[in-house]
Symmetry: C2
Subunit: 300 residues, 2 copies
Protein backbone atom coordinates (compact mmCIF):
# COMPACT_ATOMS: atom_id res chain seq x y z
CA UNK A 1 0.00 0.00 0.00
CA UNK A 2 1.34 3.39 -1.00
CA UNK A 3 0.23 6.40 0.99
CA UNK A 4 -1.26 9.25 -1.04
CA UNK A 5 0.75 12.41 -1.54
CA UNK A 6 -0.48 14.80 1.14
CA UNK A 7 -0.71 18.32 -0.31
CA UNK A 8 -1.59 21.38 1.70
CA UNK A 9 -1.29 24.12 -0.89
CA UNK A 10 -3.54 25.03 -3.82
CA UNK A 11 -0.61 25.64 -6.18
CA UNK A 12 0.80 22.16 -5.42
CA UNK A 13 -2.51 20.52 -6.28
CA UNK A 14 -2.86 22.58 -9.44
CA UNK A 15 0.63 21.51 -10.51
CA UNK A 16 -0.08 17.82 -9.87
CA UNK A 17 -3.35 18.03 -11.79
CA UNK A 18 -1.80 20.00 -14.65
CA UNK A 19 0.86 17.31 -14.98
CA UNK A 20 -1.77 14.58 -15.11
CA UNK A 21 -3.82 16.45 -17.70
CA UNK A 22 -0.77 17.15 -19.86
CA UNK A 23 -0.01 13.44 -19.79
CA UNK A 24 -3.52 12.86 -21.17
CA UNK A 25 -4.95 11.44 -17.95
CA UNK A 26 -8.41 11.98 -16.54
CA UNK A 27 -8.82 13.26 -13.00
CA UNK A 28 -11.39 12.05 -10.48
CA UNK A 29 -12.15 14.21 -7.45
CA UNK A 30 -13.79 13.07 -4.22
CA UNK A 31 -14.63 16.14 -2.10
CA UNK A 32 -14.90 15.22 1.58
CA UNK A 33 -14.77 16.61 5.10
CA UNK A 34 -12.65 13.64 6.19
CA UNK A 35 -13.10 11.06 8.99
CA UNK A 36 -13.52 8.47 6.30
CA UNK A 37 -16.00 5.64 6.49
CA UNK A 38 -17.01 3.03 3.98
CA UNK A 39 -19.19 5.59 2.18
CA UNK A 40 -16.16 7.76 1.44
CA UNK A 41 -14.14 4.71 0.51
CA UNK A 42 -16.78 3.60 -2.00
CA UNK A 43 -16.45 7.01 -3.67
CA UNK A 44 -12.67 6.64 -3.80
CA UNK A 45 -13.01 3.21 -5.40
CA UNK A 46 -15.42 4.56 -8.00
CA UNK A 47 -12.95 7.35 -8.78
CA UNK A 48 -10.02 4.91 -8.85
CA UNK A 49 -11.79 2.63 -11.32
CA UNK A 50 -12.42 5.41 -13.86
CA UNK A 51 -9.53 7.89 -13.70
CA UNK A 52 -5.76 8.06 -14.01
CA UNK A 53 -5.37 10.54 -11.15
CA UNK A 54 -7.56 10.36 -8.04
CA UNK A 55 -7.65 13.41 -5.80
CA UNK A 56 -9.49 13.35 -2.47
CA UNK A 57 -10.02 16.71 -0.84
CA UNK A 58 -10.31 16.80 2.93
CA UNK A 59 -11.57 20.12 4.16
CA UNK A 60 -13.99 20.84 6.99
CA UNK A 61 -15.44 23.88 5.29
CA UNK A 62 -16.46 26.51 7.86
CA UNK A 63 -18.76 28.39 5.47
CA UNK A 64 -21.24 25.52 5.28
CA UNK A 65 -21.74 25.36 9.06
CA UNK A 66 -24.25 27.56 10.86
CA UNK A 67 -23.17 29.49 13.95
CA UNK A 68 -24.77 26.96 16.33
CA UNK A 69 -23.60 23.89 14.42
CA UNK A 70 -20.79 21.42 15.01
CA UNK A 71 -17.84 22.96 13.13
CA UNK A 72 -15.46 22.81 16.10
CA UNK A 73 -16.57 19.34 17.16
CA UNK A 74 -16.52 17.79 13.68
CA UNK A 75 -14.41 14.62 13.97
CA UNK A 76 -10.92 14.70 12.49
CA UNK A 77 -8.23 12.03 12.15
CA UNK A 78 -5.77 12.80 9.38
CA UNK A 79 -3.46 9.86 10.05
CA UNK A 80 -6.23 7.32 9.85
CA UNK A 81 -7.70 9.09 6.79
CA UNK A 82 -4.33 9.03 5.04
CA UNK A 83 -4.10 5.28 5.62
CA UNK A 84 -7.65 4.73 4.36
CA UNK A 85 -7.01 6.80 1.24
CA UNK A 86 -3.85 4.79 0.66
CA UNK A 87 -5.82 1.55 0.98
CA UNK A 88 -8.11 2.77 -1.80
CA UNK A 89 -5.25 3.76 -4.12
CA UNK A 90 -5.83 7.50 -3.87
CA UNK A 91 -3.00 9.49 -5.47
CA UNK A 92 -3.38 12.90 -3.84
CA UNK A 93 -4.94 13.85 -0.53
CA UNK A 94 -5.55 17.60 -0.60
CA UNK A 95 -5.95 18.85 2.97
CA UNK A 96 -5.75 22.64 2.92
CA UNK A 97 -5.99 24.90 5.94
CA UNK A 98 -8.87 27.34 6.27
CA UNK A 99 -6.40 30.16 5.52
CA UNK A 100 -5.29 28.42 2.34
CA UNK A 101 -8.88 28.13 1.09
CA UNK A 102 -9.99 31.53 2.40
CA UNK A 103 -6.94 33.83 2.60
CA UNK A 104 -9.42 36.69 2.93
CA UNK A 105 -13.17 36.59 3.60
CA UNK A 106 -14.74 35.62 0.29
CA UNK A 107 -17.36 37.94 -1.17
CA UNK A 108 -18.27 35.61 -4.03
CA UNK A 109 -21.07 33.10 -3.58
CA UNK A 110 -22.42 30.46 -5.91
CA UNK A 111 -26.12 30.13 -5.17
CA UNK A 112 -28.52 27.52 -6.49
CA UNK A 113 -32.11 28.61 -5.98
CA UNK A 114 -35.20 26.41 -5.82
CA UNK A 115 -33.48 23.11 -5.10
CA UNK A 116 -32.13 24.59 -1.86
CA UNK A 117 -35.49 25.93 -0.63
CA UNK A 118 -36.67 22.83 1.23
CA UNK A 119 -35.30 19.87 3.21
CA UNK A 120 -31.92 20.72 4.76
CA UNK A 121 -31.84 24.03 2.89
CA UNK A 122 -34.83 25.26 4.90
CA UNK A 123 -33.27 24.17 8.21
CA UNK A 124 -29.68 25.25 7.59
CA UNK A 125 -29.74 28.79 6.13
CA UNK A 126 -26.64 29.44 4.03
CA UNK A 127 -25.49 25.83 4.23
CA UNK A 128 -25.84 25.09 0.53
CA UNK A 129 -24.27 28.41 -0.50
CA UNK A 130 -21.25 27.29 1.53
CA UNK A 131 -21.30 23.89 -0.16
CA UNK A 132 -21.69 25.08 -3.74
CA UNK A 133 -19.12 27.83 -3.33
CA UNK A 134 -16.45 25.56 -1.85
CA UNK A 135 -17.18 22.82 -4.39
CA UNK A 136 -16.86 25.39 -7.20
CA UNK A 137 -13.50 26.36 -5.72
CA UNK A 138 -12.38 22.72 -5.51
CA UNK A 139 -13.48 22.14 -9.10
CA UNK A 140 -11.45 25.21 -10.15
CA UNK A 141 -8.37 24.02 -8.27
CA UNK A 142 -8.43 20.37 -9.34
CA UNK A 143 -10.15 20.62 -12.72
CA UNK A 144 -11.64 17.13 -12.44
CA UNK A 145 -13.24 15.24 -15.32
CA UNK A 146 -15.47 13.51 -12.77
CA UNK A 147 -16.46 14.31 -9.21
CA UNK A 148 -18.02 11.78 -6.82
CA UNK A 149 -20.70 12.41 -4.21
CA UNK A 150 -22.75 10.03 -2.08
CA UNK A 151 -26.52 9.74 -2.32
CA UNK A 152 -26.86 9.93 1.47
CA UNK A 153 -26.61 13.70 0.91
CA UNK A 154 -29.26 13.57 -1.79
CA UNK A 155 -30.07 17.27 -1.80
CA UNK A 156 -26.37 18.15 -1.97
CA UNK A 157 -25.95 15.84 -4.96
CA UNK A 158 -28.94 17.41 -6.73
CA UNK A 159 -27.69 20.94 -6.02
CA UNK A 160 -24.13 20.28 -7.19
CA UNK A 161 -25.35 18.45 -10.29
CA UNK A 162 -27.48 21.45 -11.16
CA UNK A 163 -24.69 23.94 -10.45
CA UNK A 164 -22.38 22.07 -12.81
CA UNK A 165 -25.04 22.03 -15.53
CA UNK A 166 -26.00 25.70 -15.17
CA UNK A 167 -22.39 26.93 -15.09
CA UNK A 168 -21.26 24.60 -17.92
CA UNK A 169 -18.57 23.19 -15.63
CA UNK A 170 -16.57 20.62 -17.59
CA UNK A 171 -17.10 17.92 -14.97
CA UNK A 172 -19.32 14.88 -14.72
CA UNK A 173 -20.99 14.79 -11.30
CA UNK A 174 -21.28 11.11 -10.33
CA UNK A 175 -23.75 10.06 -7.63
CA UNK A 176 -22.83 6.91 -5.70
CA UNK A 177 -25.00 4.65 -3.53
CA UNK A 178 -25.77 5.46 0.08
CA UNK A 179 -23.80 3.01 2.22
CA UNK A 180 -25.30 1.50 5.38
CA UNK A 181 -23.89 -0.24 8.42
CA UNK A 182 -24.99 -3.88 8.77
CA UNK A 183 -27.82 -2.78 11.11
CA UNK A 184 -29.10 -0.34 8.49
CA UNK A 185 -27.81 2.97 9.90
CA UNK A 186 -26.58 5.24 7.11
CA UNK A 187 -22.83 5.73 7.35
CA UNK A 188 -21.90 9.23 8.49
CA UNK A 189 -18.84 10.77 10.09
CA UNK A 190 -21.28 12.24 12.60
CA UNK A 191 -22.19 8.74 13.87
CA UNK A 192 -19.00 9.17 15.90
CA UNK A 193 -20.93 11.56 18.13
CA UNK A 194 -23.35 8.83 19.26
CA UNK A 195 -23.29 6.94 22.56
CA UNK A 196 -24.00 3.22 22.31
CA UNK A 197 -27.57 3.85 23.37
CA UNK A 198 -28.04 6.61 20.82
CA UNK A 199 -26.40 4.47 18.16
CA UNK A 200 -28.96 1.72 18.83
CA UNK A 201 -31.80 4.24 18.76
CA UNK A 202 -30.57 5.66 15.41
CA UNK A 203 -31.60 2.43 13.69
CA UNK A 204 -35.17 3.69 13.84
CA UNK A 205 -34.42 6.01 10.90
CA UNK A 206 -33.55 3.30 8.40
CA UNK A 207 -36.24 1.02 9.86
CA UNK A 208 -38.85 3.73 9.33
CA UNK A 209 -37.69 4.19 5.73
CA UNK A 210 -37.69 0.45 5.14
CA UNK A 211 -41.28 0.22 6.40
CA UNK A 212 -42.24 3.10 4.13
CA UNK A 213 -40.56 1.32 1.24
CA UNK A 214 -42.63 -1.79 2.02
CA UNK A 215 -45.82 0.28 2.01
CA UNK A 216 -44.90 1.91 -1.31
CA UNK A 217 -44.06 -1.47 -2.78
CA UNK A 218 -47.46 -2.70 -1.59
CA UNK A 219 -49.14 0.12 -3.53
CA UNK A 220 -49.31 3.10 -1.18
CA UNK A 221 -48.79 6.36 -3.11
CA UNK A 222 -50.16 9.05 -0.79
CA UNK A 223 -47.53 11.22 0.88
CA UNK A 224 -49.70 11.82 3.95
CA UNK A 225 -49.99 8.09 4.62
CA UNK A 226 -46.34 7.31 3.90
CA UNK A 227 -44.98 10.24 5.94
CA UNK A 228 -47.48 9.60 8.74
CA UNK A 229 -46.03 6.14 9.16
CA UNK A 230 -42.42 7.37 9.11
CA UNK A 231 -43.14 10.11 11.63
CA UNK A 232 -45.07 7.80 13.97
CA UNK A 233 -42.28 5.20 14.01
CA UNK A 234 -39.64 7.81 14.76
CA UNK A 235 -41.84 9.49 17.40
CA UNK A 236 -41.86 6.15 19.25
CA UNK A 237 -38.09 6.41 19.80
CA UNK A 238 -37.47 8.87 22.68
CA UNK A 239 -33.75 9.36 21.88
CA UNK A 240 -34.50 10.54 18.34
CA UNK A 241 -36.04 13.90 17.49
CA UNK A 242 -37.19 14.18 13.90
CA UNK A 243 -36.14 17.37 12.11
CA UNK A 244 -38.09 16.62 8.96
CA UNK A 245 -39.45 13.73 6.92
CA UNK A 246 -40.57 14.70 3.45
CA UNK A 247 -41.59 13.19 0.18
CA UNK A 248 -40.38 15.34 -2.71
CA UNK A 249 -40.13 15.23 -6.47
CA UNK A 250 -36.77 13.75 -7.44
CA UNK A 251 -36.02 16.47 -9.99
CA UNK A 252 -37.28 19.63 -8.28
CA UNK A 253 -37.12 18.51 -4.61
CA UNK A 254 -40.51 20.20 -4.17
CA UNK A 255 -42.98 18.41 -1.85
CA UNK A 256 -45.46 16.10 -3.56
CA UNK A 257 -48.82 14.79 -2.36
CA UNK A 258 -48.71 11.55 -4.33
CA UNK A 259 -46.00 9.46 -5.92
CA UNK A 260 -46.72 9.80 -9.63
CA UNK A 261 -43.12 10.26 -10.79
CA UNK A 262 -39.62 9.70 -9.46
CA UNK A 263 -39.48 10.80 -5.86
CA UNK A 264 -37.19 11.11 -2.87
CA UNK A 265 -38.24 10.18 0.66
CA UNK A 266 -35.80 12.09 2.84
CA UNK A 267 -35.43 12.74 6.53
CA UNK A 268 -33.16 14.41 9.04
CA UNK A 269 -33.17 13.76 12.76
CA UNK A 270 -31.32 14.76 15.88
CA UNK A 271 -29.83 11.88 17.85
CA UNK A 272 -27.84 13.10 20.82
CA UNK A 273 -25.37 15.68 19.50
CA UNK A 274 -25.67 14.40 15.94
CA UNK A 275 -27.97 15.52 13.17
CA UNK A 276 -28.30 12.53 10.86
CA UNK A 277 -29.68 12.21 7.33
CA UNK A 278 -31.24 9.26 5.60
CA UNK A 279 -33.29 8.74 2.47
CA UNK A 280 -34.49 6.36 -0.16
CA UNK A 281 -35.34 7.14 -3.75
CA UNK A 282 -38.36 5.90 -5.63
CA UNK A 283 -38.20 5.37 -9.38
CA UNK A 284 -41.55 5.14 -11.14
CA UNK A 285 -41.99 3.30 -14.43
CA UNK A 286 -45.66 2.98 -15.34
CA UNK A 287 -47.34 1.09 -12.47
CA UNK A 288 -44.02 -0.26 -11.31
CA UNK A 289 -41.86 1.35 -8.64
CA UNK A 290 -38.24 0.63 -7.72
CA UNK A 291 -36.98 1.77 -4.33
CA UNK A 292 -33.28 2.37 -3.80
CA UNK A 293 -32.35 2.18 -0.12
CA UNK A 294 -28.62 2.07 -0.79
CA UNK A 295 -26.21 -0.74 -0.04
CA UNK A 296 -25.07 -2.43 3.15
CA UNK A 297 -21.37 -2.73 3.87
CA UNK A 298 -20.18 -5.68 5.92
CA UNK A 299 -16.80 -5.67 7.58
CA UNK A 300 -14.36 -7.83 5.61
Amino acid sequence: MTLPTLLRRIDEVRAACDDARRAGGTIGLVPTMGFFHEGHRSLMRAARAANELVVVSLFVNPTQFGPSEDLAAYPRDLDRDTQAAGDEGVDVLFAPSVDEMYPEPGVTTVHVSGLTDGLCGARRPGHFDGVTTVVAKLFSIVGPCRAYFGRKDAQQLAVITRMARDLDLPVEVVGCPLVREPDGVAMSSRNAYLTDEERAAATVLSRALASAADEISAGEREAAAILGGVRARIADEPLVELDYAELVDAATLAPIERIDADALLALAAFVGRARLLDNCSVTVSGDHVTIDQGVVAFAP
Copy 2:
Protein backbone atom coordinates in the same frame (compact mmCIF):
# COMPACT_ATOMS: atom_id res chain seq x y z
CA MET B 1 -6.59 38.26 -43.54
CA THR B 2 -8.17 35.01 -42.39
CA LEU B 3 -11.65 35.10 -40.95
CA PRO B 4 -12.06 33.52 -37.52
CA THR B 5 -13.81 30.19 -37.21
CA LEU B 6 -17.39 31.04 -36.30
CA LEU B 7 -18.69 28.54 -33.75
CA ARG B 8 -22.25 28.45 -32.45
CA ARG B 9 -22.17 25.45 -30.13
CA ILE B 10 -20.59 25.00 -26.72
CA ASP B 11 -19.26 21.54 -27.52
CA GLU B 12 -17.51 22.87 -30.64
CA VAL B 13 -15.74 25.57 -28.64
CA ARG B 14 -14.77 23.09 -25.93
CA ALA B 15 -13.29 20.80 -28.57
CA ALA B 16 -11.28 23.62 -30.17
CA CYS B 17 -9.97 24.73 -26.79
CA ASP B 18 -9.20 21.18 -25.67
CA ASP B 19 -7.16 20.71 -28.84
CA ALA B 20 -5.20 23.90 -28.19
CA ARG B 21 -4.53 22.94 -24.58
CA ARG B 22 -3.42 19.44 -25.53
CA ALA B 23 -0.98 21.01 -27.98
CA GLY B 24 0.45 22.99 -25.06
CA GLY B 25 -0.99 26.32 -26.14
CA THR B 26 -2.37 29.05 -23.92
CA ILE B 27 -5.86 30.41 -24.57
CA GLY B 28 -6.90 34.05 -24.39
CA LEU B 29 -10.59 34.88 -24.11
CA VAL B 30 -12.20 38.23 -24.91
CA PRO B 31 -15.83 38.16 -23.70
CA THR B 32 -17.95 40.71 -25.62
CA MET B 33 -21.50 41.61 -26.58
CA GLY B 34 -20.31 42.37 -30.13
CA PHE B 35 -20.66 45.47 -32.33
CA PHE B 36 -16.94 45.84 -32.11
CA HIS B 37 -15.16 49.15 -31.76
CA GLU B 38 -11.54 50.00 -31.20
CA GLY B 39 -11.89 49.17 -27.49
CA HIS B 40 -12.82 45.57 -28.31
CA ARG B 41 -10.10 45.42 -30.94
CA SER B 42 -7.48 46.52 -28.42
CA LEU B 43 -8.53 43.61 -26.20
CA MET B 44 -8.21 41.22 -29.14
CA ARG B 45 -4.71 42.53 -29.89
CA ALA B 46 -3.68 42.10 -26.26
CA ALA B 47 -4.99 38.53 -26.35
CA ARG B 48 -3.31 37.85 -29.71
CA ALA B 49 0.05 39.06 -28.42
CA ALA B 50 0.08 36.69 -25.45
CA ASN B 51 -1.71 33.48 -26.42
CA GLU B 52 -1.62 30.70 -28.99
CA LEU B 53 -5.41 30.51 -29.30
CA VAL B 54 -7.57 33.64 -29.17
CA VAL B 55 -11.29 33.14 -28.59
CA VAL B 56 -13.70 36.07 -28.74
CA SER B 57 -17.17 35.38 -27.40
CA LEU B 58 -20.03 37.44 -28.82
CA PHE B 59 -23.17 37.07 -26.77
CA VAL B 60 -25.73 39.72 -25.90
CA ASN B 61 -26.50 38.17 -22.54
CA PRO B 62 -30.16 38.71 -21.63
CA THR B 63 -29.66 38.03 -17.91
CA GLN B 64 -27.58 41.17 -17.42
CA PHE B 65 -30.28 43.47 -18.83
CA GLY B 66 -33.07 44.85 -16.67
CA PRO B 67 -36.69 44.62 -17.89
CA SER B 68 -36.73 48.27 -19.04
CA GLU B 69 -33.25 48.22 -20.58
CA ASP B 70 -32.03 47.97 -24.16
CA LEU B 71 -31.70 44.22 -24.72
CA ALA B 72 -33.81 44.18 -27.90
CA ALA B 73 -32.24 47.35 -29.29
CA TYR B 74 -28.62 46.44 -28.53
CA PRO B 75 -26.71 46.91 -31.81
CA ARG B 76 -25.69 43.77 -33.68
CA ASP B 77 -23.67 43.26 -36.88
CA LEU B 78 -22.15 39.81 -37.06
CA ASP B 79 -20.68 40.21 -40.57
CA ARG B 80 -18.80 43.37 -39.67
CA ASP B 81 -17.72 41.85 -36.34
CA THR B 82 -16.40 38.74 -38.08
CA GLN B 83 -14.31 40.94 -40.38
CA ALA B 84 -12.98 42.97 -37.46
CA ALA B 85 -12.07 39.84 -35.50
CA GLY B 86 -10.30 38.54 -38.59
CA ASP B 87 -8.36 41.79 -38.89
CA GLU B 88 -7.11 41.27 -35.35
CA GLY B 89 -6.07 37.66 -35.92
CA VAL B 90 -8.77 36.12 -33.74
CA ASP B 91 -8.92 32.33 -34.13
CA VAL B 92 -12.42 31.54 -32.88
CA LEU B 93 -15.51 33.73 -32.73
CA PHE B 94 -17.97 32.03 -30.38
CA ALA B 95 -21.44 33.42 -31.04
CA PRO B 96 -23.96 31.18 -29.29
CA SER B 97 -27.72 31.61 -29.33
CA VAL B 98 -29.59 32.36 -26.12
CA ASP B 99 -30.94 28.78 -26.21
CA GLU B 100 -27.42 27.41 -26.46
CA MET B 101 -26.28 29.33 -23.39
CA TYR B 102 -29.54 28.87 -21.45
CA PRO B 103 -31.24 25.67 -22.66
CA GLU B 104 -33.40 25.94 -19.53
CA PRO B 105 -33.83 28.83 -17.09
CA GLY B 106 -30.70 28.77 -14.93
CA VAL B 107 -31.18 28.53 -11.18
CA THR B 108 -27.48 28.99 -10.39
CA THR B 109 -26.12 32.47 -9.78
CA VAL B 110 -22.60 33.65 -9.07
CA HIS B 111 -22.91 36.68 -6.81
CA VAL B 112 -20.16 39.06 -5.74
CA SER B 113 -21.25 41.14 -2.76
CA GLY B 114 -19.88 44.49 -1.64
CA LEU B 115 -18.21 45.49 -4.90
CA THR B 116 -21.61 45.40 -6.58
CA ASP B 117 -23.42 47.54 -4.00
CA GLY B 118 -22.69 50.97 -5.51
CA LEU B 119 -22.16 52.65 -8.89
CA CYS B 120 -23.91 50.68 -11.67
CA GLY B 121 -24.75 47.89 -9.22
CA ALA B 122 -27.05 50.23 -7.30
CA ARG B 123 -28.79 51.44 -10.49
CA ARG B 124 -29.07 48.12 -12.33
CA PRO B 125 -30.37 45.51 -9.87
CA GLY B 126 -29.27 42.02 -10.88
CA HIS B 127 -26.98 43.32 -13.63
CA PHE B 128 -23.74 42.10 -12.10
CA ASP B 129 -25.21 38.73 -11.14
CA GLY B 130 -25.99 38.33 -14.85
CA VAL B 131 -22.45 39.38 -15.76
CA THR B 132 -20.60 37.19 -13.26
CA THR B 133 -22.76 34.18 -13.98
CA VAL B 134 -22.34 34.36 -17.76
CA VAL B 135 -18.62 35.08 -17.45
CA ALA B 136 -18.26 32.07 -15.14
CA LYS B 137 -20.03 30.02 -17.81
CA LEU B 138 -17.75 31.36 -20.56
CA PHE B 139 -14.69 30.61 -18.42
CA SER B 140 -15.98 27.05 -17.92
CA ILE B 141 -16.60 26.57 -21.63
CA VAL B 142 -13.34 28.05 -22.95
CA GLY B 143 -10.99 27.39 -20.03
CA PRO B 144 -8.85 30.46 -20.80
CA CYS B 145 -5.44 31.13 -19.26
CA ARG B 146 -6.14 34.84 -19.61
CA ALA B 147 -9.32 36.85 -20.08
CA TYR B 148 -9.39 40.46 -21.24
CA PHE B 149 -11.74 43.23 -20.12
CA GLY B 150 -11.71 46.97 -20.74
CA ARG B 151 -11.32 49.53 -17.99
CA LYS B 152 -14.26 51.55 -19.32
CA ASP B 153 -16.37 49.05 -17.38
CA ALA B 154 -14.27 49.55 -14.26
CA GLN B 155 -16.75 48.06 -11.82
CA GLN B 156 -17.23 45.01 -14.05
CA LEU B 157 -13.46 44.50 -14.17
CA ALA B 158 -13.20 44.75 -10.37
CA VAL B 159 -16.10 42.35 -9.86
CA ILE B 160 -14.81 39.74 -12.30
CA THR B 161 -11.27 39.98 -10.93
CA ARG B 162 -12.64 39.35 -7.46
CA MET B 163 -14.84 36.48 -8.61
CA ALA B 164 -11.85 34.78 -10.19
CA ARG B 165 -9.79 35.20 -7.02
CA ASP B 166 -12.52 34.02 -4.64
CA LEU B 167 -13.42 30.98 -6.75
CA ASP B 168 -9.78 30.08 -7.49
CA LEU B 169 -10.54 30.20 -11.19
CA PRO B 170 -7.36 29.28 -13.09
CA VAL B 171 -7.48 32.41 -15.22
CA GLU B 172 -5.62 35.70 -15.19
CA VAL B 173 -8.07 38.57 -15.55
CA VAL B 174 -6.34 41.27 -17.59
CA GLY B 175 -7.62 44.86 -17.50
CA CYS B 176 -6.93 46.92 -20.62
CA PRO B 177 -7.01 50.71 -21.12
CA LEU B 178 -10.24 52.58 -21.75
CA VAL B 179 -10.18 53.68 -25.39
CA ARG B 180 -11.51 57.08 -26.45
CA GLU B 181 -12.59 58.64 -29.72
CA PRO B 182 -10.40 61.53 -30.88
CA ASP B 183 -12.86 63.98 -29.28
CA GLY B 184 -12.57 62.19 -25.93
CA VAL B 185 -15.82 60.23 -25.87
CA ALA B 186 -15.28 56.76 -24.41
CA MET B 187 -15.83 54.10 -27.05
CA SER B 188 -19.01 52.14 -26.51
CA SER B 189 -21.24 50.04 -28.71
CA ARG B 190 -24.08 52.14 -27.30
CA ASN B 191 -22.67 55.29 -28.93
CA ALA B 192 -24.47 53.94 -32.01
CA TYR B 193 -27.73 55.04 -30.38
CA LEU B 194 -26.73 58.72 -30.45
CA THR B 195 -27.91 61.36 -32.92
CA ASP B 196 -25.23 63.77 -34.15
CA GLU B 197 -26.41 66.35 -31.64
CA GLU B 198 -26.36 63.86 -28.76
CA ARG B 199 -22.96 62.60 -29.85
CA ALA B 200 -21.60 66.15 -29.63
CA ALA B 201 -23.22 66.64 -26.23
CA ALA B 202 -21.70 63.36 -24.95
CA THR B 203 -18.24 64.96 -25.01
CA VAL B 204 -19.19 66.73 -21.80
CA LEU B 205 -18.59 63.49 -19.89
CA SER B 206 -14.91 63.15 -20.77
CA ARG B 207 -14.44 66.91 -20.57
CA ALA B 208 -15.85 66.92 -17.04
CA LEU B 209 -13.52 64.08 -16.08
CA ALA B 210 -10.55 65.83 -17.67
CA SER B 211 -11.31 68.99 -15.69
CA ALA B 212 -11.55 66.93 -12.51
CA ALA B 213 -8.22 65.32 -13.36
CA ASP B 214 -6.71 68.80 -13.73
CA GLU B 215 -8.06 69.79 -10.32
CA ILE B 216 -6.72 66.62 -8.71
CA SER B 217 -3.34 67.17 -10.38
CA ALA B 218 -3.38 70.70 -8.98
CA GLY B 219 -3.84 69.31 -5.46
CA GLU B 220 -7.56 68.99 -4.89
CA ARG B 221 -8.32 65.89 -2.81
CA GLU B 222 -11.86 66.50 -1.47
CA ALA B 223 -14.57 64.40 -3.08
CA ALA B 224 -17.23 67.05 -2.56
CA ALA B 225 -15.23 69.64 -4.51
CA ILE B 226 -14.19 67.24 -7.28
CA LEU B 227 -17.67 65.75 -7.73
CA GLY B 228 -19.31 69.16 -7.46
CA GLY B 229 -17.30 70.32 -10.44
CA VAL B 230 -18.11 67.21 -12.47
CA ARG B 231 -21.82 67.44 -11.70
CA ALA B 232 -21.99 71.15 -12.46
CA ARG B 233 -20.30 70.75 -15.83
CA ILE B 234 -22.61 67.93 -16.83
CA ALA B 235 -25.69 69.79 -15.56
CA ASP B 236 -24.83 72.55 -18.03
CA GLU B 237 -25.42 70.19 -20.95
CA PRO B 238 -29.20 69.87 -21.46
CA LEU B 239 -28.96 66.71 -23.61
CA VAL B 240 -27.11 64.79 -20.89
CA GLU B 241 -28.75 63.55 -17.70
CA LEU B 242 -26.27 62.37 -15.10
CA ASP B 243 -27.10 59.02 -13.49
CA TYR B 244 -24.25 59.18 -11.01
CA ALA B 245 -20.79 60.63 -10.53
CA GLU B 246 -18.86 59.10 -7.65
CA LEU B 247 -15.41 58.98 -6.21
CA VAL B 248 -14.73 55.55 -4.73
CA ASP B 249 -11.88 53.55 -3.28
CA ALA B 250 -10.16 51.64 -6.08
CA ALA B 251 -10.10 48.36 -4.14
CA THR B 252 -13.50 48.33 -2.40
CA LEU B 253 -15.46 50.69 -4.71
CA ALA B 254 -16.91 52.26 -1.55
CA PRO B 255 -17.41 56.06 -1.65
CA ILE B 256 -14.58 58.13 -0.19
CA GLU B 257 -14.57 61.68 1.11
CA ARG B 258 -10.94 62.38 0.28
CA ILE B 259 -8.36 60.94 -2.07
CA ASP B 260 -5.82 59.36 0.30
CA ALA B 261 -5.30 56.13 -1.61
CA ASP B 262 -5.94 54.73 -5.09
CA ALA B 263 -9.35 55.85 -6.26
CA LEU B 264 -11.78 55.66 -9.14
CA LEU B 265 -13.76 58.63 -10.40
CA ALA B 266 -16.67 57.05 -12.23
CA LEU B 267 -19.85 58.29 -13.84
CA ALA B 268 -22.84 57.12 -15.81
CA ALA B 269 -25.17 59.34 -17.78
CA PHE B 270 -28.16 59.12 -20.04
CA VAL B 271 -27.69 60.69 -23.47
CA GLY B 272 -30.73 60.19 -25.66
CA ARG B 273 -31.49 56.44 -25.63
CA ALA B 274 -27.99 55.57 -24.46
CA ARG B 275 -26.69 55.10 -20.95
CA LEU B 276 -22.95 55.81 -21.17
CA LEU B 277 -20.13 55.13 -18.73
CA ASP B 278 -16.85 56.93 -18.26
CA ASN B 279 -14.18 57.02 -15.61
CA CYS B 280 -10.60 57.80 -14.73
CA SER B 281 -8.47 56.14 -12.10
CA VAL B 282 -6.23 57.90 -9.62
CA THR B 283 -3.09 56.19 -8.35
CA VAL B 284 -1.61 57.67 -5.19
CA SER B 285 2.06 57.30 -4.30
CA GLY B 286 2.97 59.48 -1.35
CA ASP B 287 2.10 63.08 -2.31
CA HIS B 288 2.15 62.19 -5.97
CA VAL B 289 -0.93 61.20 -7.97
CA THR B 290 -1.15 59.64 -11.42
CA ILE B 291 -4.43 59.88 -13.28
CA ASP B 292 -5.25 57.35 -15.97
CA GLN B 293 -7.84 58.68 -18.41
CA GLY B 294 -7.31 55.91 -20.94
CA VAL B 295 -5.98 56.20 -24.46
CA VAL B 296 -7.21 57.98 -27.57
CA ALA B 297 -7.57 56.01 -30.78
CA PHE B 298 -7.11 57.83 -34.06
CA ALA B 299 -8.36 56.39 -37.31
CA PRO B 300 -5.47 54.92 -39.30
